[in-house]
């Protein structure tokens, strides 16, 4: 295991103001801001996989986007490899962005439909002057191999690939810029179960082989259980519980975590009438 850099997030917050209409402007009213992420702190150790779980609207995606500065935080600190990321600009910011990559949820729209797989991977490497990118074929083949795709995939276009294959290509493209941290934002959620398992294993392999640190955002707790070393549970913009995955899942301390775990559908057969209790939210 290579010792890579540490990522540290402290008191990160972001709220989205509801749109202010002209009537509000006249009345000098401020529209209430909706806190998407509220005072979130955590650490990501080198080679660690941190699960980020929560329902829709819990702020997990906004948090993930703030870390790579796709969304500008309102407050808080992001320290990566000892450097305050928020103070960076220009070349230094680009370099930090290179070292933190993101894989998005929807494999059907995260690739440019007009670009072949090889061109997309090569472009990512060339933009950041990655070594080896001067030999296109070997470069592309190397990264396709990382994600267990045959080198011939390079000539294909996204539309010719299945969802799982596209997601592998998206991962290969992210790897081609040479990141230390990968943020997987619901990266397996849209895929079939059998393909999900393959990709979860791929993430584990990449952590082992490349020493990547991974933030694994998912709404499915079971997916996080399979890959994450530690888990942070988010609810309404806050981290309500954080700890080693096994501990949190076996003995949850927070009420919300408990309700998530209780509602998790289990393939072990349990008749509804005995197990489920109906509540109206």
């Amino acid at each position: 295991m290579t010792a890579g850099p540490t990522l540290e997030v402290e008191g990160l917050s972001k709220s989205f103001a509801l749109r202010r209409g002209w009537t509000d402007a006249v009345a000098r009213r401020k529209r209430p801001a909706h806190a998407a992420v509220d005072d979130v702190s955590f650490q990501l150790a080198p080679g660690e996989i941190l699960g980020l779980a929560g329902g829709s609207g819990s702020g997990k995606t906004t948090l993930a986007r703030m870390i790579i500065r796709l969304v500008e935080p309102d407050a808080g600190r992001i320290t990566f490899d000892g450097v305050d990321v928020r103070s960076l600009s220009g070349r230094a910011l680009r370099e930090t962005r290179r070292r933190m990559q993101m894989v998005f949820q929807d494999p059907y729209s995260s690739l440019n439909p007009r670009m072949s797989v090889g061109a997309a991977i090569l472009e990512a490497g060339r933009v950041h002057h990655q070594s080896g990118s001067e030999h296109p074929e070997q470069f592309v083949a190397r990264f396709l191999d990382f994600v267990r795709l045959p080198a011939a995939t390079a000539r294909r276009r996204p539309e010719e690939l299945s969802g799982g294959q596209r997601q592998r290509v998206a991962i290969a493209r992210a790897l081609a810029v040479g990141p230390d941290v990968v943020i997987a934002d619901e990266a397996v959620s849209a895929l079939d179960v059998s393909i999900q398992t393959q990709l979860l294993n791929l993430f584990l392999d990449l952590r082992d082989e490349l020493g990547l640190s991974i933030i694994f955002v998912a709404h499915q707790l079971s997916v996080i259980a399979e890959v994450a070393d530690r888990v942070a549970i988010m609810h309404l913009g806050r981290v309500v519980e954080v700890g080693p995955t096994a501990e949190v899942f076996r003995a949850p301390r927070d009420e919300y975590t408990r309700s998530l775990l209780a509602a998790h559908p289990h393939p072990a057969p349990l008749r509804a009438s005995s197990k489920l209790r109906e509540e109206t939210s």
Partner: protein, 341 residues
């Protein structure tokens, strides 16, 4: 066994193309008893969604369905006239889809939409329909119904919208409720509530439920029986307890084993999963569609007869070689390498 309600026999569905046809469902047979909850499980491309729509004869453009019979209460749906088909759709079967938002009219109050269904399908007067709407809202777990019925779809949460859809679906008192991935777009906690609602409705009204889902966990929670589909074919079907604990088809077993589980937390083992990709309908021919991903496959699988063979009480499988590969389940997890401690 309960009395039969729906009996689908040898259903095949194809899409017409310029050159010939693309078959996406082959010889699928299953049945649903009165008041029974049956799950139709499969991954994308398994043909589960089009299969369930055939019960209403809802086919996409270019879709052609053939079946020996689709019997609903003894009448063959495939032979209904247009008028009879409309009655069948109105009174016998209610349907709920994955995305409640796109199924509701965004410019109309939800109460009006339910009332409209009542007026059209149950022939109620405006006043009766309004009163019944509030009752229906109550029965699908929407409290403060009188107030909520004045909401527009975008003012409701996903779970509430799905409850409205269910209210519309059951407005004419159908004998079968079809849910096509009804909880896939919802949070787990909401999902649990909707599933509980569906099984309570079954208990209260005796209505049967056909639940189409990609998620074995969902099906296991509410269903009595389950039909497992893959590559347009039925692989296995039987009581949900049986299928989940003693699957009698290599696909079912591989699928169950590849499902991520909460118990995996902190364990240093890696799930094996199913290698390869789900099949393209164009590449599926005779024989077992799972053969090229199956750990137990041999040459004979490419020409195997896929008719269903009994392996237990109302438990059938398409794999004739069941007896030959029965090693104890759970032995396929290999040790996970590396990782920080």
């Amino acid at each position: 066994m309960t009395d039969p309600l729906l009996n689908v026999e040898e259903l095949s569905i194809a899409f017409r193309q310029r050159r010939g046809e693309l078959t996406v469902v082959r010889d699928v047979s299953f049945d649903v008893g009165v008041g029974e909850v049956v799950g139709l499980v499969g991954e994308s491309g398994s043909g589960k969604s089009v299969s369930c729509r055939s019960i209403l004869r809802l086919m996409p453009a270019h879709g052609v369905m053939r079946a020996r019979a689709i019997e609903f209460l003894g009448r063959d749906v495939t032979k209904l006239s247009d008028r009879e088909l409309r009655d069948h759709r109105r009174h016998n079967v209610g349907m709920v889809f994955q995305d409640p938002y796109s199924c509701l009219n965004p410019t109309q109050r939800v109460g009006e939409q339910v009332a409209e269904a009542l007026r059209v399908n149950a022939g109620m007067s405006k006043i009766d329909a309004r009163a019944r709407t509030i009752e229906l809202f109550e029965s699908v777990g929407i409290d403060r119904g009188a107030e909520r019925q004045r909401s527009y779809p975008h003012e409701l949460s996903g779970g509430m919208r799905q409850r409205v859809m269910i209210a519309i679906a059951i407005s004419a008192g159908p004998k079968l409720l079809i849910g096509d991935e009804p909880t896939t777009a919802l949070d787990v906690t909401t999902q649990a509530q909707i599933l509980a609602l569906m099984s309570r409705l079954r208990d209260d009204t005796g209505m049967a439920v056909l639940l189409v889902s990609h998620d074995f966990g969902v099906v296991a929670q509410v269903c009595d029986r389950v039909v497992v589909m893959y590559g347009g074919r039925v692989m296995e079907s039987g009581p949900v307890t049986q299928v989940c604990t003693e699957p009698q088809h290599p696909y079912t077993r591989a699928l169950l084993e590849s499902i991520p589980r909460l118990e995996a937390a902190g364990r240093r083992v890696r799930r094996e999963g199913i290698p390869g990709q789900p099949p393209n309908p164009a590449d599926v021919g005779e024989g077992c569609p799972f053969a090229d991903r199956c750990a137990h496959a041999s040459a004979r699988c490419s020409s195997v007869d896929m008719s269903l063979r009994p392996v237990g009480p109302s438990h059938v499988t398409a794999c004739p070689f069941v007896g030959e590969w029965s090693d104890p389940p759970g032995a396929t997890e290999s040790s996970r390498v590396g990782g920080p401690s």
